[in-house]
């Protein structure tokens, strides 16, 4: 470097700056704290039972790498087209953006990604290993838990065989969810993808009926995922609430009485259940809402008998306690389903073998029960009768475990399982709605399948249990919202109410690419670096460097540890750690 020597005004530059580069001065020695890049967990990931890496696949969507985004989801969930439509999206409930304006429409982005890849097949590399293992695993039931487990086992190199009692795979996804919420081509596509990875599905194979339990003995492990496909009887459901319960005989055999599961099964297998003008649906869960909205459509689509809004849901608590997804309740209301709260059925009254009336009792809310919801208490002498010609009872489902040969530990009507889905009988695992840790949702069943696959892998000796390092979850106040202008959440497109209530065609549409890209931009990407360069821009010492691959590194010879980068990081993907002082 040229040595400058100024002696006169004329030789001097107009302003004072260092002649040599400040790189010469190792200011890093001033530092007592050091910034580091450290990705953290976003609350949505914690909220997603399937554990999808939401900020990561969002970033891929942001970069329009839709296939890559899909692969990222597939690591945790083989059914994004399904969950993108029917999931109750607890992820959104945890979203940090909720505290700022509105949660990010994660659910709609998941669907967008799945639909963008509708014509693609999952690649070989979705498998975690090339090694084909000799162990075979049987899975009973091809609902979301069974599919998820078999899929994850296949990814790990196992041969997984699913035994399905029905004529087609899918379980509740196929037989329980109406077409207007989940078109069957979506389900078929995703089941097809799972099969293409080597999972074998044997349909029409009911264990304990046409397939003996003994056949399963040739397998090294079994996962029981038969779901909860049997509707509870009204008498059982109401036992606690009514002094005068009624049994099946008392009205249950009348023409015009269905269980929710039966009703939806018939619809989903191409049947057309006979319903009348005055349809009453008993229950407050998703099955009740599905049945009510389907009944509405059935009336309309038949054309000859206008229903004139005569589908009413009867629920013994209030709207706030309804377990159904709130959006579904709203949609049902939009389409004209009526709701009657704080009523419980006492007796169905028939005339000439057909339903004609139902006797109901008024309820009021008492103290919260074990579920945390306020318990309904009957109001004395409040019984009344209303006209009805169709009654659909959807007060909950339970598993049918009559095929199990062992005296399994059961709790209530379900298989008792440990946290790792083991049953106590070595090699037999259970999960989903058939087991003791259900919550009746698709995504929890997917999680159960994934966790069980990991437990089976471990049981078969291929995987050692690892305690995952618990990453810190980013809190809303840690987001530097300065970088995020307020933006409206994407509204998913839907067909008109007039159209939707008159057919079984899908109600909700996929976000347009433009909408999806705007929506991913709303994501704070809590704890996941997006390479936004804010740290680099703000570093007063030019101590943050970016390599040819776009990755950052910190030049600790010059970083003074001022912490501006950490403070400015919009998404808490950096942190300051104490320097270990070294005394020579």
């Amino acid at each position: 470097m040229t040595k400058y020597k100024f002696t006169t005004v004329e030789e001097m530059p107009p302003l004072a700056f260092s002649i040599e580069s400040t790189r010469k001065i190792p200011t890093g020695s001033w530092r007592h704290v050091r910034p580091i890049y450290k990705d953290k967990t976003s609350p949505c990931e914690v909220g997603c039972p399937a554990g999808e890496k939401i900020p990561v696949y969002f970033d891929l969507v942001r970069q329009k790498k839709y296939e890559e985004a899909w692969y990222k989801i597939l690591e945790d969930n083989p059914l994004p087209g399904v969950t993108g439509r029917v999931c109750y999206h607890p992820c959104e409930g945890q979203c940090n953006r909720t505290f700022y304006d509105e949660s990010v429409a994660i659910h709609n982005i998941e669907r967008f990604v799945a639909d963008k890849n509708f014509h693609n097949n999952p690649p070989e590399r979705i498998s975690v290993t090339d090694l084909l293992k000799s162990e075979k695993v049987a899975v009973i039931g091809s609902g979301p838990a069974g599919l998820s487990c078999a899929y994850q086992l296949a990814r790990k190199g196992y041969r997984a065989v699913i035994y399905e009692a029905g004529h087609e795979a899918g379980g509740m996804l196929r037989y329980g969810i109406p077409h207007y919420r989940l078109p069957k081509n979506i389900l078929d596509k995703e089941i097809g993808d799972i099969v293409s990875l080597g999972v074998q599905i044997k349909v029409d194979s009911r264990i304990g009926k046409n397939i003996p339990w003994g056949e399963l003995e040739k397998y090294d492990a079994v996962f029981v995922a038969v779901g909860a496909m049997r509707s509870k009887k009204m008498s059982e459901g109401q036992r606690l609430n009514s002094s005068r319960s009624f049994g099946e005989a008392e009205g249950g055999d009348l023409k015009g009485v269905y269980s929710g599961v039966e009703f939806l099964y018939e619809l989903n297998t191409g049947g057309s259940p006979q319903i009348g003008d005055k349809v009453l649906v008993v229950g407050g869960g998703n099955t009740a809402i599905d049945a009510a909205r389907s009944a509405l459509r059935l009336g309309k689509s038949e054309g000859s008998r206008p229903l004139s809004g005569k589908v009413t849901v009867l629920y013994r608590r209030t709207r706030a306690e309804m377990p159904a997804v709130p959006e579904e309740i709203e949609e049902a209301e939009k389409e004209g389903v009526k709701f009657e709260f704080l009523v419980a059925p006492v007796k169905i009254i028939g005339y000439r073998g057909k339903v004609s009336k139902i006797e109901l009792q008024r309820m009021k809310l008492g103290e919260p029960d074990a579920s945390g919801r306020r318990k309904p208490i009957p109001v004395v002498d409040s019984n009344f009768t209303i006209q009805a010609d169709t009654i659909i009872s959807a007060i909950g489902e339970e598993p049918d475990l009559s095929f199990l040969p062992y005296s399994f530990l059961k709790k209530g009507v379900r298989v008792f399982v440990d946290d790792d889905h083991s049953t106590g009988v070595p090699g037999i695992f259970a999960g989903g709605d058939a087991a003791t840790n259900p919550n009746g949702t698709v995504v929890n069943a997917i999680r159960a399948g994934k966790e069980a696959a990991a437990a089976i892998d471990e049981f078969l000796g291929w995987r050692t249990k690892m305690d995952g390092v618990k990453q810190q979850v980013v809190q809303s106040e840690e987001i530097n919202t300065f970088y995020f202008p307020h933006e409206k959440r994407a509204k998913f497109p839907r067909i008109s109410v007039e159209k939707s209530k008159a057919s079984f065609g899908e109600v909700n549409k996929t976000l347009s690419e433009e909408q999806a890209l705007a929506e991913v931009d709303r994501c704070f990407s809590c704890g996941t670096c997006l390479h936004c360069d804010v740290c680099m821009t703000f570093c007063p010492d030019v101590a943050i460097l970016k390599d040819e691959f776009g990755e950052y590194s910190i030049d600790y010879d010059h970083c003074k540890g001022c912490g501006i980068c950490v403070n400015e990081c919009p998404r808490e993907a950096m942190e300051l750690v104490e320097e270990e002082l070294q005394w020579a």
């Binding site: 107009p14 302003l15 004072a16 260092s18 040599e20």
Partner: protein, 404 residues
Amino acid sequence: MGVNGKDSLIHPSIDKVVVIEGTHAASHAVKLARVQVIAAYPITPQTGVVEKLSEIVSHGDLNAKFIKVESEHSAMASCIGASISGARAFTATSSQGLALMHELLHWAAGSRLPIVMVNVNRALAPPWSIYVDHNDSLSQRDTGWLQFYAESNQEVLDTVLQAYKIAEAVSLPVMINLDAFVLSHTSEPVAIPKQELVDEFLPPWKAEFKVDPANPHAFGALVGPDAYMEMRYKLFEAMEDAREVIRNVDSEYSEKFGRSYGGLVEEYYADDAEVVLITSATAVSTARIAVDEMRSLGFPVGLAKLRTFRPFPVDEIRSLAQRVSKIGVMDRNISFGATGIIYQETKAALYNAPVRPKLFGFIAGLGGRDVTPETIKEMYSHIMNNDTPESETIWVGLKQSQKS
């Protein structure tokens, strides 16, 4: 409209004529100057400048980085950062906001950065006031900033455009002052020049020295006693050079856009006047009316509009002194323990001059007190009726019980 009258609204350089407030005239000029970084903190009566700019930037009409800041100190710091990396930078403030910037005003000038700032002149508190006087900007006299005072909204726009050209030529920051409310919130017709002509007049700035992350250097570095004086001398020299640059830029502007403001000082009926009043900003247009009226009655009065305060127009004032017998100075400011500030400077400019007419120093219009043609006529009368001033500060319009 001031000096150029209605004719200034018809010229081939004009894109359109709009009726806008003084604050918005500044915003339009910033857009035309293709400023790249704007950082400002809102303060009455400057807010309109920044409000309009935020709209212009958010509508995509100006490709600039608009930095929201938490104080005027940060606003100037941001402009310094922008300018030192080679970007054309702008800020606007007023009164207390300008006072808060003080430390960084020195920094900007010492770093020789051609930042342009609009200051809406507002009296300093307490007592609290939002109305015009000039103590805020005159308090920044020794920071190394050039200071212009505008008489009309058109002059605000034109001076902002000239200011970038001057600033970038001499590597010094420029402050353009306009009177609170009298200009800032008063709508006047303003000719907006064609963008392509402004682009020709004001090409992109190419900084001679700028920060480069690839090769970091320390700016504003420590220099020893062996060099500090020379660095200051260079700044002094640049300010001296600015006089000629201001004159040249004004005539170039006049050729291109048809409007001229006389460089540092514009005279009005001063050639054959016996008594001349020196003043600045909007009081000048009021004084024009007073002069017209007094001339029609046969009084030999004239006017000198002080357009720049820094650099101080010493040559122009000395030239004036050779032609007239008495000079009055109207100060819309007061330096406690001394006199009006422009009065002091005028006296200082004349002390070593070959001809030294009698000087009368008036204080008027503080904190938004109206300056009317009558106020100005009172000053002319006082000068004409007295051989020497009765005191070094003559307060005009003061509510005084003993005053006759």
